[in-house]
């Protein structure tokens, strides 16, 4: 049994000439709620995508539970950025959440009663049962974010990666989403979140990664989230 649940070793990612991520080494233990913070263009989303094999790194590897991503996919959930999809797509809240079960079903087979119950459950967990049949373009930003969260909950994963799940939501929805994330942690899940708001890092998270192409520091919030490290991460502006 490896000591760390997620291990990233020597990972470098480049789209064109300039590297987006440089020589990333990161070890995340089980059962933490970790924020990834850093300035715009620091490579926060890319880090998540590279760990999920959605972006191919030039070098380096990622291990989950000591094994490679593909053998562990079943235990990994993902919440992409809300803007990454066309919300005018002809589908309903229920349908989108049901998509979270597709990975467990596999190719060709259709979701059955069990999957539909799971989807219903997840919709209730994020408080969207009123909107279950609503077309997704009729949702507010916060509601869309909750739909994406429900879709990930349905995956019933052990590790969750979330790309800015608090982006464009109001204060009440933000609190509700954070409560769900903290409950996931309480249940022994590991949650990695790309986060924008430095003010709330200490309140919401117990681990943090400070990223600016390279990893500046990572670890417990109370140990690494301080002014000196933030200055290095964000330059002199903070």
């Amino acid at each position: 049994m490896p000591k760390y649940l997620i291990e990233v070793e020597d990972m470098t990612v480049a789209y064109e000439k300039k590297p987006v991520l440089w020589d990333i080494d990161l070890k995340i233990p089980k059962g933490v709620l970790m924020a990834i913070v850093g300035p715009n263009g620091a490579g926060k989303s890319t880090l998540i995508k590279a760990m999920l094999d959605l972006v191919k790194p030039i070098s380096g590897k990622v291990l989950f539970n000591g094994a490679d991503y593909h053998s562990q996919r079943r235990y990994i959930g993902y919440v992409p950025q809300r803007e990454s999809v066309d919300w005018d797509f002809p589908t309903s809240v229920f349908d989108v959440v049901l998509m979270g079960t597709y990975g467990q079903i596999g190719w060709i087979k259709r979701p059955g009663r069990k999957e539909k119950e799971k989807a219903l459950d997840a919709i209730k967990k994020v408080g969207m049962e009123e909107f279950i049949d609503r077309q997704i373009s009729q949702l507010s930003g916060g509601q869309q974010q909750r739909v994406f969260l429900a879709r990930a909950l349905v995956q019933d994963a052990d590790i969750y990666f979330m790309d800015e799940p608090l982006q464009g939501v109001d204060a009440r929805t933000e609190k509700a989403i954070i409560r769900i994330l903290q409950k996931l942690r309480t249940n022994g899940k590991t949650v990695v979140v790309v986060h924008h708001d430095l003010q709330t890092v200490q309140e919401y998270f117990d681990w943090v990664t400070l990223l600016n192409t390279k990893i500046i520091k990572y670890g417990r919030v109370e140990e690494v989230f301080n002014e000196d490290n933030l200055k290095i991460t964000y330059g002199k502006i903070v």
Partner: protein
């Protein structure tokens, strides 16, 4: 002109129409996905780029054998698409420029080759130009059987991979994270779309084939917010266009099938754009007018109520001009208020006492308190 009755009992036409029907269904189904994935123009590129392939194969073989011609169409269509995608990926030229460039240069090459062919003495070349605008009546029975077989296979694939196609079209990245690689699904979807385009070339033609692919999906999207309904509707629209277009073109001598089909499907698109109940322009306009009327009525009633609050006698009547305090009274605003007042009177919420003076009723006061609760519980 042939009489419709004679036409409908014509065996050849029946077979040809069957082919067009299948083509319409398949185009509608696959076009729905192309529309949703915002890849409407790729089909246009494939079909235009197919022309030089058709003519080139004829130059090589000297005979008009459908399978061989369509194979040539397939190869040059794919080649054109490949070049477009490569230009977009490896140069600084943008996708739309690459598309326009390749589409027209391949089509131009096709036309040049076609002109050259017409100069050489070969009795067989006649009819090759019908690939430009399409001529369903040139279909042989065997061609139609091939269309039906390929169409059935395509529909089967879509049915089996329904869930995968749906998640891929909506959120390819998430699909990949679940173990449905977007590259794999993209290849499957693109391949069957290209096959559908190729089998449509003979009856619809290289220029207009993309319209039969895209238009049914666009029309269907106006009527529904559900993918399955959209695809079924698009298939139905495609079928209607295929059948009606083919019959239309056989009614008039020398009328190519492609334009006839496109006219029918365009009609369906325009009707859908205006009349559809989900997103149609007319329906949305009416809905918006209804909404603004309702809001205006609420506003006027609330204003009347507030005026009443400042009076000892709640039922004191006020002039219309009083109801728009602080605002310059334009003629239109004035008219809107009067219209709202008349509507409110019809509902019993206000009373008109004398000429142009209005008072709130008990029912009106009740309604105001309901409005206020709905709008976040303002204090009364």
């Amino acid at each position: 002109m042939i009489s419709i009755e004679a036409l409908l009992s014509d065996y050849t036409l029946q077979i040809v129409t069957l082919g067009s029907a299948m083509l319409g269904v398949v185009s509608g189904v696959l076009g729905s996905f192309a529309v949703l994935r915002k890849q409407s123009l790729l089909g246009d590129a494939v079909s235009h780029a197919a022309l030089p392939g058709i003519v080139f194969v004829f130059l090589l073989t000297g005979i008009k054998q459908t399978e061989m011609l369509l194979l040539g169409a397939l190869i040059s269509g794919l080649l054109g698409t490949l070049i477009i995608i490569s230009i977009d990926r490896y140069t600084r030229i943008k996708f739309d420029s690459a598309l326009g460039l390749i589409l027209s240069s391949f089509f131009g090459l096709g036309l040049v080759l076609l002109t050259y062919i017409q100069k050489i003495p070969n009795a067989n070349q006649a009819g090759l130009e019908s690939f430009i605008f399409g001529q369903a009546s040139t279909l042989l029975k065997r061609d139609v059987y091939i269309m039906i077989a390929l169409g059935t296979i395509i529909l089967l694939i879509v049915g089996l991979l329904w869930k995968e196609l749906k998640i891929f079209s909506f959120d390819p990245e998430f699909a990949q994270s679940l173990g449905f690689p977007d590259k794999k699904i993209n290849i499957i979807l693109s391949s069957i779309t290209v096959v559908a385009i190729i089998i449509g070339l003979q009856s619809v033609g290289v220029i207009l084939m993309s319209a039969l692919l895209i238009a049914p999906g666009v029309a269907a999207r106006q009527w529904t917010d559900q993918l399955s309904v959209m695809v079924i509707l698009a298939a139905t629209f495609g079928l209607m266009a295929g059948v009606l277009g083919t019959v239309l073109s056989s009614l008039v001598e020398n009328m190519p099938t492609g334009p006839a089909i496109v006219i029918v499907i365009s009609l369906i698109v325009f009707l859908s754009l205006f009349l559809a109940t989900k997103r149609g322009l007319l329906w949305r306009h009416l809905q918006m007018r209804k909404n603004s009327r309702a809001i205006n009525e609420e506003r006027v009633l609330t204003a009347l109520y507030q005026l009443a609050l400042n009076h000892d006698d709640i039922y004191h009547a006020h002039q219309t001009a009083m109801l728009n305090p602080g605002e310059a009274i334009t003629r239109k605003a004035d008219k809107n208020i009067v219209n709202s007042l008349h509507a409110l009177r019809a509902k019993g919420y206000v009373r008109s006492d004398y000429f142009d003076t209005w008072a709130i009723t008990d029912a009106g006061i009740e309604q105001v308190s309901r409005i206020m609760v709905e709008n976040g519980g303002e204090e009364l």
